[in-house]
């Protein structure tokens, strides 16, 4: 008889190693989506037990209690209670604990027990606990708690074997003893007494050596030093941006020449005409000029995931809390803002960890000012065309330095905007509390980093294949039709729809030094910022023919003045045009108003910054 799918749910405090257990159980059989109606990420995976039972497991957001004080925590509560819409009540709840740190999880488990769901306590990272001399009387713990207890080492092969066996045993006798849900929100007194009860059980069953993790203490002595810590943080960010610019270069050149060769091949194989132009100028040079940035996106996500898994992100929040507080930001905003360097969309979604509404709104409004990876193509293109690749002070690459400066300008303007919001809009403001666990450092695991980076790379390629591709087709169409009349001497593009639209917008953009080709490129940039590069490529390729298609950078160097290039860089520090970011702001704030506010203020800033940059540059003789 085919048994029905068994539903498991993983519950635990933040940093309990839930996600590494989830990865160990399911491997790559995962699907990531959102819970219906809310934007909390829902991660579900599948595996088969030794006895052949099909199991689905959901990784619930980390929580310290079932009170549900943020959307993430509400999901965890509703899911366990079977109140989440469209979700099956879990057959078995796996409460995951970091074995080196049981206090908070045991209290959570005592609260979870009241829901009446069948439950197992998983003592994860049992190897680290053993190495530190922590011994747990597992049998006694199970008896005291009244739930089965199993140990696991998620990061080791076979480390979850006991858990799998136990899952089989328990699923065989499920539903035999239905229990009643007696859970309700705990009062302060009840919280205190459950914590006492938890501490008593731990005192009975666990022997702790009086020796904390010496490695964590040693690293923190440097990393959390009031001054030294900030220097380390600045150094990490600096290395990250140098890496994005320097390490990615050889790979990008390789990809670039690959696409060039492909374009050449199409050019040589197909007869001259519309199809050849469409494939070479529209598809290959357009989509290719975006895919080239894959190495940079992989590097930036690699850094973010490594720092997160290592346990550094919470430290960064600690160091930045008061500094950001001066600008009206919460320390917890640091993580969403840092993610916004990859892309504002996950960054804005990550603001859900901020439970104060005003703090969250401020963070959402400034997240798009963090230099996202989609701006990298634009920056890289212009910098490599206009800024000489020489070393300054003997060891710093000037191009990397300009890149760093652009990032710094983004951060500075974000802090300034946040300060103004605090000053003018949210005056009666009491700062929300900052309370955060600083977990022990852990060696990042290759497997989870690989899973994380591949997911992001796939998302980027998917975007390149869908949104960006369709935009490129549109641009190619606008730039190619209508065709020039027979016997025309000007370049074909001068007769196209693109030229008509671009020239109509030109008077508006002329004060900031933009020509009509840039105006054309800014429109499809609405779909995704990096499309602007591809659009410039297509426009100049159709205008200039084959040589132009080969090196957009060189073409720009001859067609634009330095002032125009600098103005374009200044525009892209703010660059309001990204439809998906605006859509996420609309969804996360639940209001069109904040979306319009974001678009409006960024547009004004972009125009003002470009106007200033262009005129100063022209006055200095760069026009």
């Amino acid at each position: 008889m085919e048994l029905p799918l068994l539903h498991l749910a993983l519950v635990g405090t933040p940093n309990s190693g839930k996600t590494s257990l989830f990865n160990a159980l399911t491997g790559s059989r995962q699907k990531v989506a959102n819970y219906p109606g809310v934007t909390v990420e829902r991660k579900e995976g599948f595996f088969v037990t030794p006895q052949g039972r099909q199991v689905s497991v959901v990784d619930l957001p980390g929580t310290y209690s079932l009170r549900g004080r943020s959307p993430d925590e509400e999901i965890t509560r509703d899911f366990v209670l079977g109140k989440a819409s469209g979700e099956t009540v879990p057959d078995l709840v796996l409460c995951v604990a970091d074995s080196t740190n049981l206090r908070l999880t045991i209290r959570l488990l005592l609260e979870l027990k009241r829901t009446g769901r069948p439950m197992v306590l998983v003592l994860n990272m049992f190897d680290i606990a053993a190495r530190r001399g922590i011994t747990v009387d597992v049998e006694r713990l199970a008896k005291e708690l009244g739930v089965p207890v199993v140990t696991s080492i998620a990061v080791r092969k076979g480390g979850t074997a006991d858990l799998l066996t136990l899952t089989d045993e328990i699923s065989a006798r499920l539903a035999a003893e239905p229990q009643e849900n007696t859970w309700r929100a705990l009062s302060v007194g009840e919280l205190r007494s459950t914590q006492r009860e938890a501490d008593r059980i731990i005192a009975d069953c666990v022997s702790l050596p009086a020796r904390p993790d010496t490695w964590t203490a040693r690293i923190d002595a440097v990393v959390l030093h009031p001054v030294g810590g900030l220097i380390v943080l600045a150094a990490i960010l600096f290395v990250m941006f140098q890496a994005v610019f320097a390490w990615a270069q050889p790979l990008m050149e390789l990809l670039n020449s690959g696409f060039d060769a492909l374009g050449e091949f199409v050019h040589a194989t197909l007869p001259a005409g519309l199809l050849q132009s469409f494939l070479q100028n529209g598809v290959i040079s357009g989509v290719g000029s975006v895919i080239v940035f894959l190495p940079q996106i992989i590097i930036i996500f690699l850094f973010i995931l490594l720092l997160e898994d290592f346990g550094y992100m919470a430290r960064a929040a600690f160091l930045m809390d008061r500094i950001m507080g001066g600008a009206g930001l919460h320390g917890r905003a640091f993580i969403p803002l840092l993610s916004s360097f990859a892309c504002a969309i996950p960054g804005i979604m990550a603001t859900r960890v901020i439970d104060n509404k005003r703090d969250r709104l401020t963070t959402i409004l400034i997240a798009p000012l963090m230099t996202c990876s989609a701006r990298i193509p634009v920056y890289t293109l212009i910098i490599s065309a206009f800024i000489p690749a020489k070393d300054v002070w003997g060891f710093v690459n000037l191009q990397g330095l300009v890149m760093f400066g652009l990032y710094a300008a983004g951060i500075a303007s974000a802090l300034a905007v946040s300060f103004l919001i605090k000053f003018f809009m949210l005056r009666d403001y009491a700062p929300a509390p900052f309370m955060l666990e600083l977990p022990d450092y852990k060696m990042p695991r290759l497997k989870s980093i690989v899973i994380g980076v591949t997911t992001r790379a796939k998302m980027f390629l998917h975007r390149a294949g869908t949104t960006i591709f369709s935009m490129m087709v549109l641009i190619w169409f606008l730039a190619s039709f209508p065709q020039p009349p027979a016997g025309a001497t000007e370049p074909a593009i001068d007769f196209s729809l693109a030229a008509i639209i671009g020239k109509a917008l030109e008077p508006l953009l002329a004060p900031v030094g933009f020509n009509w080709q840039i105006a054309v490129a800014l429109i499809p940039g609405m779909a995704a910022r990096e499309v602007a590069v591809a659009a410039l490529g297509t426009v100049y390729a159709i205008e200039g023919g084959k040589e132009a298609a080969e090196q957009i950078g060189q073409v720009l160097a001859t067609k634009w003045s330095l002032a125009t290039a600098l103005s374009m860089l200044a525009w892209y520090i703010f660059a309001p045009q990204c439809a998906s970011t605006l859509a996420v702001i609309r969804r996360e704030t639940g209001s069109w108003r904040w979306m319009a506010v974001t678009f409006g203020y960024m547009l004004v800033l972009a125009y003002a910054a470009s106007l200033l940059t262009y005129n100063i540059a022209v006055a200095l003789g760069a026009g």
Partner: protein, 91 residues
């Protein structure tokens, strides 16, 4: 596990210097000018392990105004602002 140390005066953790070690005597949420309601602040502190009898040690301080502080609470480390730490009475 509760230890009372009569020789030391009670003080809020929010005023403690780096290197301070002590034991939590009680929570007094009225003392903290927090943005949270009293019940919410007390619940959160308990959920992070700040209960009577827990040993605390101030491990690190931030740069600006020596704030926030990183506190060892028995077996874990929690970052908290001094404003909220005023609610934790130690000795």
């Amino acid at each position: 596990m509760t230890e009372t140390n009569d020789t030391r005066p009670h003080m809020p953790l929010g005023l403690a210097q780096r290197g301070y070690t002590g034991v939590i005597q009680h929570l007094s949420v009225k003392e903290a000018a927090s943005a949270l309601s009293d019940i919410e602040l007390e619940s959160r502190l308990i959920e992070l392990g700040f209960v009577e009898g827990a040993r605390v040690e101030v491990l690190h301080e931030g740069l600006v105004g020596r704030d926030p502080i990183a506190v060892r609470v028995d077996s874990i480390t929690i970052a908290v602002r001094r404003r909220e730490a005023m609610a934790i009475i130690v000795a």
